[in-house]
């Protein structure tokens, strides 16, 4: 276990994460400010002439389709499918053409202008500020000219991709083409609108469909190779309902990286974009969805009904365009491109192991970069504290603890948007005001708001309502998890380990690491452990004399906060384990599993076995 010896060294090499004391982040500009002072119509109709990749001439949507349909790659698969199915190649070609028709974007500047106008109006109503780091925009502009660019925003809301296009339009940057789920197509009119603003639609699952995969990947690669437009997709695959980053999906990332490995492009730049909402539009929707109320189907009428949300205040949005990540530099020394030399490049092939693990590492790295630049509001700290005190807290205690937690978060380099020069009490009270739907102050105590249903309620219904508010609150706590996660895991490991021996703590940590690897964004190797040790030592909570890891005299509050932070997640696993041991029957199907665990948990909670509620998936 040699890594234990030179922990800090490894940390420096292995991680570019938030704890780097030299980390410098850009400042923000509010793009709504100008919207509030000048004509939206003029803005929507202004001259739009973005710079393109090495000055390529923009490619009409139809030309793009032709390139794809005539590509060697697609022809190969068409012939293959034709041989397997016995259908004539013409018919398969026709199928491919239909797939492409269903998929392809039809970017039109007039539609973009319409959105520019409509969104200006909507944003001004919904949000106080939409803040963007302009230096990031400048870096992006540079990158777009030099290399094919892939925009990788975090995904918390339906708003995300409209917002992205809106910002790029505002800064006169090339509009991205966006991979969107087919669900949107269900919204008749809106689906087509989105298509005309640059979205292309992919089926959620097409596992075995070779032809579909070929059309899809060739479509994306063609856009990338020729640099017609930045490509945008969500690494997390879907909106995170919990505000925790989801473990990345690799399919699309594989597709956009492959042209680099095959030498078809010199480099590909991945740009992580962190979109942080002070309040998410879908907030309570998500909590219900998690509790098993089915997600409303995307529909135009549903969207219209949602107008109601226009009357509320959703605070600000921060959009941070991260440093472009060069795939070429990342792959240096990790992937030997010449292994692609012995196979024709137009024949689809499963990526090699080396490549797969590179793409996987890259995906995790990008998600962590997204996390690092997520802007955190004071409320997320307060929510973390409230969730550890479900029975409520004295306002003064909450204030005091929030200040303490702020210090801790800052020393872990959290990207905290704490108002300058405002007294703490003011910060706390205005946070409570914005989130009055979630927490309230009465008689000097702060507690969660639980929706009061009309009429008599069963204990289950009461519990459901409580769970909604806890989960809503948890979605804020989750935003700060990436800052505290590693030290918190170490705190739990220290708590569980039989002794303070480094080895044993490490083993416990590894166990947690394995267990949580689907819950959180953890990095392969020992980087997480190194980082956890480094941070806890740095803030004085832990000492590491020789072969031990021990708590310091002042470490108690930190470690117990961390233990409390992870407790709900551990309890979640405990419930599942108990369910599987005690109740699960033989033929349990995947479909039954989640509702069954859920009702099992309800039983336990009502019986008073658990106090925490927040991790019922």
């Amino acid at each position: 276990m040699s890594f234990l010896g030179h922990r800090s060294l490894m940390y420096k090499q292995g991680s570019s994460h938030s704890q780097d004391p030299m980390l410098k982040r850009d400042g923000f500009e509010d793009i709504l400010e100008e919207r509030r002072n000048s004509s939206d119509l003029k803005y929507a109709l202004r001259c739009y002439a973005p710079v393109l990749y090495k000055g390529v001439t923009p490619c009409k949507a139809n030309m793009l389709k032709n390139i794809v349909l005539q590509s060697d790659q697609l022809h190969y698969v068409i012939n293959q499918v034709s041989q397997e199915s016995g259908e004539a190649p013409d018919i398969i070609q026709e199928e491919a053409s239909v797939i492409l028709e269903e998929m392809a974007h039809r970017l039109q500047i007039s539609t973009v202008r319409f959105f520019a106008f409509a969104l200006s109006k909507a944003f001004k109503t919904l949000f106080q500020h939409v803040c963007v780091n302009e230096e990031g925009i400048q870096r992006l502009q540079q990158a777009i000219q030099e290399h094919p660019v892939v925009l990788l925003p975090s995904h918390r809301s339906y708003m995300d991709f409209l917002l992205m296009s809106y910002i790029l339009y505002t800064y006169d940057l090339a509009l991205p083409v966006i991979a969107a789920g087919m669900d949107f197509m269900g919204m008749k009119f809106v689906g087509e609108m989105l298509r005309m603003s640059g979205a292309f639609f992919i089926r959620r699952s097409f596992g075995g469909d070779k032809l579909y995969w070929a059309v899809f990947s060739e479509y994306v690669k063609t856009m990338l190779r020729n640099g017609f437009a930045p490509i945008e997709f969500f690494l997390e695959g879907t909106r995170s309902r919990t505000c925790k980053s989801l473990t990345p999906k690799l399919g699309l990332l594989n597709i956009v990286i492959e042209p680099f490995f095959k030498g078809e492009v010199f480099d590909v730049n991945l740009v992580p974009v962190s979109i942080s909402y002070e309040r998410i539009l879908e907030e309570s929707l998500y909590a219900r969805e998690l509790l098993g109320v089915p997600k409303p189907k995307e529909s135009t009428s549903g969207l219209l009904k949602a107008r109601r949300i226009l009357s509320e205040d959703y605070g600000s949005i921060h959009v941070y365009f991260g440093q472009p990540v060069s795939v070429r530099s990342l792959a240096q020394g990790k992937v030997n491109r010449s292994t692609y030399n012995l196979f024709p490049r137009h024949i689809p092939r499963k990526p090699m192991e080396e490549t797969q693990s590179f793409v996987n590492d890259t995906a995790y790295r990008i998600v962590r970069l997204q996390e690092d630049n997520m802007v955190l509001k004071p409320w997320v700290l307060m929510a973390s504290l409230l969730l550890q005190n479900l029975e409520g807290l004295e306002l003064s205690v909450l204030t005091e603890q929030t200040v303490w937690l702020r210090g801790l978060a800052l020393s872990y380099a959290a990207f905290l948007d704490w108002p300058d020069h405002a007294p703490t009490a003011k910060v706390v009270s205005s946070s409570l005001a914005l989130h009055r739907g979630l927490a309230c102050v009465s008689g000097g105590r702060v507690s969660l708001v639980v929706g009061e249903p009309l009429g008599p309620v069963t204990p289950e219904e009461a519990l459901f309502n409580r769970a909604v508010s806890v989960l809503s609150c948890a979605s804020y706590r989750n935003q700060v998890l990436h800052v505290f996660l590693r030290p918190a895991m170490l705190a739990v490991a220290m708590h569980t380990a039989a002794s303070s021996k480094k080895n044993e703590v490490y083993n416990c940590f590894s166990f947690l690491w394995d267990m949580f690897s689907n819950d959180f964004i953890l990095c392969p190797g020992d980087i997480d452990f190194e980082e956890a040790c480094y941070l806890l030592v740095k803030t004085g909570a832990v000492q590491m004399p020789q072969q031990d890891i021990v708590m310091t005299d002042i470490g108690q509050p930190t470690l117990s906060f961390f233990n409390g932070l992870l407790e709900p997640f551990l309890q979640g696993y405990q419930v599942v384990c108990r369910y599987l041991c005690e109740e699960a029957s033989e033929g349990l199907t995947e479909k039954q599993y989640i509702p069954a665990v859920r009702s099992f948990a309800v039983k336990l909670i009502l019986a008073g076995a658990f106090t925490s509620l927040s991790e019922m998936f």
Binding site: K262, G263, E264, F266, N336, R337, S338, Y340, N341, R345
Partner: protein
């Protein structure tokens, strides 16, 4: 930029430079002139073809290259001492001497091109050390017993500093740069021997084995792979075995169309002597003016006209090699054999690690009746590559077909001699107008393919039409013989131009690769981009020149040739910077599906990639041949493995 792709041939002076119809006339004149130039070196004309003359003649020296090479060649640059580029007092470029078509001409656009391309100035000179400083040369450490025995054989040898230094290097940038700077040499050969025939070589190799002396064969000295560099760790006496005096055609067999030739003969002499009998080999690497037959065999050379005549491995019928274990040769001259792996292929590309090639039987052809240059302009490089691919597919490539990128096209134009007539000027202007304005070609995108057709007149014209028709389908416009010829001039004066560059803070080099057709464009783009980036990252203050051409076509791919040059003002160690960039460029080539080398070879410059290129098992196979043939590492230049 030196190497096989880099020099000029006197033969070209005769046949290729002066194109088509009056070629035989100008060829005759040129040959006459050549004989005058080298007159004092030539004793007498040897017997005609067909005569067998195998026994050594101590004074048999009718070749161009004297034992004291420095008498006619530059000791610290490319080519003949009397031929060089310079900027005259008016700032105009001139090419001195009388040997070449450009000799004595003023090139009015070169200065502008040079200054604009590199950010250099004719006022900022970086002159070379004028003469060799003998104190910078390590003293010869001789193996006295070997010297005694050698004396007894009567084979001439020398241990003078000039002779030894001349054979301590090839024409890599770092080698020439060091000579120009007057740097101290780490290791040079301790002596030079000049065998006159195969038997002399046998004696030398026997003595070397007996006295444990390290032998390094030396042919034309045009290596660009550090192949001639003496391994600094070599403690034995190093003897440079200069084959230049083994330069006779021993016989010509007109029935089978083969000639038996001593391997030290250089390309221009071989062609000249064969021409006298009405034949040629058709093997014309760009270095043929100086490079030797043995060197071609040892490096797997490739000639410009390989589409008609084949590469060296296709031309060779029989090889005689002296190794520490004895002499390798085959028992017959059958045109093809199924007798296990071809032992010729252990020799071809062995880079002097196994022995000395002494005699070669190679194919000859009657001199073609008719030669014609041509060129085609394409709107961009992509279109040009697509056309060459189609030409290769239809297997109708002319003797030579090369596609130069836009940078090289402009470079070629900078070498246009002063035009005397207003009319020519006017016609040039009109052509330019037609291509750029009327046809809408972007002058900063257009590229040119240069062509050379050979054969009987009727078939050449037919062939020409076929190629131009294909070109037209890719948007190509025929652009005249003159443009075509200029392209070939560029390749043979380029090495002289490098010396000019080095006089003004510009370092330059070339490298090559071969690559499957579908990767040609990607490789060219990525390598250029890599070079530009590496230069920027390594602090090169000026935009480098990166240029490439598709210089040979094959059924399954092409050979791509790169030029790379930059202004090194402000750099502490330009050679080191250059080497790092070239290293990165080679990595990029390999990552993009290119080969380690198409015809330059590996030498010591690219050894590190051999395992990756041919697998460690492959390296082991080669090593086991080396271990068997030369167990004491007498041929210790340490190339290749």
């Amino acid at each position: 930029m030196l190497t096989s792709d880099s020099c000029l041939s006197l033969h070209k002076h005769g046949s290729s430079m002066a194109s088509d119809s009056n070629s035989s006339e100008s060829q005759r004149i040129a040959q006459q002139r050549l004989r005058i130039i080298a007159g004092h070196l030539q004793k007498h004309k040897d017997d005609d073809s067909g005569t067998i003359a195998t026994e050594c003649k101590a004074e048999a020296n009718k070749g161009t290259v004297p034992r004291k090479r420095q008498e006619i060649m530059k000791w610290n640059g490319w080519g003949y001492s009397d031929s060089k580029f310079l900027f005259n007092k008016k700032g105009q470029a001139e090419f001195t001497g009388k040997r070449y078509r450009l000799s004595g001409m003023v090139l009015p656009s070169l200065q502008d091109w040079f200054e604009n391309t590199f950010g250099a100035s004719v006022n900022h000179k970086s002159p070379a050390t004028p003469a060799l400083n003998a104190s910078a040369v390590p003293p010869a450490s001789l193996n006295e017993a070997f010297v005694e025995d050698l004396k007894a054989t009567g084979i001439p040898f020398s241990h003078e500093a000039e002779d030894r230094v001349f054979r301590a290097h090839g024409h890599c940038l770092h080698e020439i740069f060091a000579l120009r700077e007057g740097k101290k040499f780490e290791r040079v050969p301790d002596m030079v021997v000049w065998p006159n025939c195969h038997n002399d070589v046998v004696k030398i190799v026997e003595l070397a084995c007996k006295h444990n002396v390290c032998l390094i064969p030396y042919g034309g000295g045009t290596s660009v792979t550090s192949a001639l560099e003496c391994p600094p760790e070599e403690t034995r006496c190093i003897v440079s075995l200069d084959t230049s005096q083994m330069n006779r055609i021993l016989w010509i067999d007109e029935k089978n169309l083969v000639a038996h030739v001593e391997a030290g003969i250089i390309g221009q002499d071989l062609e000249r002597l064969l021409n006298e009998s009405g034949y040629c080999t058709g093997h014309e690497p760009d270095s043929m003016e100086f490079s030797s037959l043995g060197g071609w065999v040892a490096t797997r050379a490739s000639g410009m006209k390989k589409n008609v005549y084949g590469n060296i491995e296709d031309l060779v019928i029989h090889i005689k090699v002296v190794t520490p274990r004895g002499v390798i040769e085959k028992s017959c001259q059958g045109p093809r054999m199924s007798t296990g792996p071809d032992i010729h292929h252990f020799i071809l590309g062995s880079e002097g690690t196994l022995g000395v090639v002494t005699e070669v039987t190679m194919k000859i052809r009657p001199i073609p009746e008719y030669q014609k240059y041509g060129s085609v302009v394409f709107p961009n490089f992509e279109a040009g590559v697509a056309c060459l691919r189609e030409v290769a597919k239809q297997r109708c490539a002319p003797a030579s077909i090369r596609l130069m990128d836009n940078e090289q096209f402009q470079f070629g134009h900078a070498l246009k001699p002063q035009v005397s007539s207003i009319f020519t000027n006017f016609v040039e202007g009109l052509k330019k107008f037609y291509i750029t304005k009327f046809k809408g070609f972007d002058p900063h995108q257009l590229v040119v393919a240069t062509l050379l057709f050979e054969g009987d007149r009727e078939r050449v014209l037919q062939h020409e039409k076929q190629v131009y028709d294909i070109a037209a389908t890719f948007g190509g416009l025929a652009a005249g013989e003159d443009n075509g010829q200029r392209g070939y001039i560029l390749t043979f004066v380029i090495a002289y131009l490098r010396d000019l560059g080095m006089d003004y803070y510009v370092v330059a080099e070339s490298f090559e690769t071969s690559v499957p057709w579908d990767r040609v464009l990607d490789l060219c783009r990525n390598v250029k981009e890599r070079i530009n980036r590496e230069c920027k990252e390594r602090g090169v203050q000026f935009q480098p020149l990166t240029s490439c051409r598709v210089t040979q076509t094959y059924d399954a791919g092409a050979c791509v040739y790169f030029y790379f040059a930059f202004n090194y003002r402000g750099l502490a160690d330009p050679v080191h910077t250059y080497e790092r960039v070239e290293h990165a460029a080679r990595e990029e080539i390999l990552a993009n599906g290119g080969s380690l080398s198409h015809h330059h070879g590996v030498g010591k410059l690219r050894k590190e990639w051999m395992k990756e290129s041919i697998s460690s098992l492959g390296v082991g196979m080669l090593q086991s041949v080396k271990d068997y043939v030369d167990p004491d590492n007498i041929f210790g230049n340490r190339n290749l493995l």
